[in-house]
């Protein structure tokens, strides 16, 4: 590289990038404190100040998304007033959210109970909990929420203990 390009390089190095605004720094520090405290990141901290009109809409969307999900889990599909299924509402909120992170793990709640069937087969029965933790962001508003869901399964399988 010739000398004039090197001079240009050092002149560029003197142009400092702009740092965080005071508000931005506060927000980031709040996120860090929240993460360190091992809490859900919760809302983006400045968000309601910056886009107050969207807060309610986002909350409603989120509530609808969770409500629909809960409805499916319980085996009760959300039903419209006329008796039809609310298919559009179930699919809609998902498209408005961006999944930032997802973890899933299984917890075995009780030790297996063994029993013998009439045919002499030894089987075990136990309860398993599937935990899913998702960090999702509402695209329009930017709200970040941690959603933790638990699904309980009753597992009945052939025992390998005998």
């Amino acid at each position: 590289m010739n000398q004039s390009l090197k001079d240009l390089e050092s002149r560029l190095e003197q142009l400092s990038p702009r740092g965080l605004s005071d508000e931005g720094r506060e927000d980031c520090h709040a996120v860090i404190e929240s993460l360190v405290a091992d809490e859900a990141p919760g809302q983006r901290f400045d968000w309601s100040k910056r886009h107050p009109r969207l807060v309610t809409a986002a909350a409603a969307m989120l509530a609808l998304g969770l409500g629909s999900g809960a409805g499916w889990y319980l085996g009760v599909k959300p039903v419209a007033a006329d008796g039809g299924e609310l298919v559009a509402e179930v699919a809609g909120p998902e498209a408005d959210f961006d999944q930032l992170d997802r973890k899933a793990w299984l917890i075995t709640e009780d030790g297996p109970d063994l029993y013998v069937t009439e045919s002499g087969e030894v089987r075990e029965i136990f309860r398993e909990v599937e935990v899913t933790k998702e960090v999702v962001k509402h695209l329009e508003s930017g709200i970040v929420v941690v959603v933790e869901t638990k699904e309980h399964h009753l597992v009945n399988s052939e025992s390998s203990e005998f």
């Binding site: 003197q14 142009l15 860090i32």
Partner: protein, 183 residues
């Protein structure tokens, strides 16, 4: 004595104070405003925290942070369909006071010209220049991040400098010409 959580929080805040200007400068190439770039940085913090779980949540290395910012920036840009409007936006940045290189630290006209020309560089060149000059990454790290060879990264960097030099020379000549005409 500080608890582990307090020390960790301070370590991340120190890391943020040191790294935020570099990361924001990079993010600004992909966002419409300083505000959006700061939002992107917040999202990156959450991602990075998750990635660092295996490393006892220590603050991340810069290349990883740039990588996450790039991923989030691409995603952000794709969703908004902004790529075809980028040149127009650069003009908008310059028209307003929403610069991503700190104008308060520029006391010469040349520095001001330089800043404007950097912001007007094509994205590929500006990206490499930003990562090298203000990100402090090596060409190998830039290559890894952008999925190009380190030679390509070095070529783009050199080409960016040459472009800037040409433009500055041209601007200075024009300026000199107009001063001569006036006198």
């Amino acid at each position: 004595m500080k608890s582990r959580k307090e020390s960790l929080g301070e370590a991340w805040k120190d890391w943020l104070d040191e790294s935020a200007p570099r990361l924001l400068a990079y993010a600004r190439g992909r966002c419409q405003s300083a505000h959006e770039a700061e939002d992107l940085l917040q999202d990156a913090l959450i991602k990075l925290w998750g990635y660092q779980e295996e490393r006892e949540h220590r603050p991340p290395d810069l290349p990883l942070a740039f990588s996450v910012m790039r991923y989030l920036g691409l995603d952000h840009g794709r969703r908004k369909g902004r790529r075809d409007k980028r040149d127009q936006k650069i003009i908008q940045f310059q028209a307003g006071n929403d610069h991503w290189l700190d104008p308060t630290l520029e006391d010469t006209e040349e520095a001001s010209m330089l800043r404007a020309e950097v912001e007007a560089l094509p994205e590929k060149l500006r990206e490499v220049l930003s990562l090298k000059i203000w990100g402090g990454l090596t060409f190998a790290e830039i290559g890894g991040l952008l999925e190009i060879s380190h030679n390509t990264a070095a070529s783009r960097y050199r080409y960016a400098l040459e472009q800037l030099q040409k433009k500055l020379k041209h601007l200075k000549e024009n300026e000199h010409e107009s001063v001569t005409k006036r006198s």
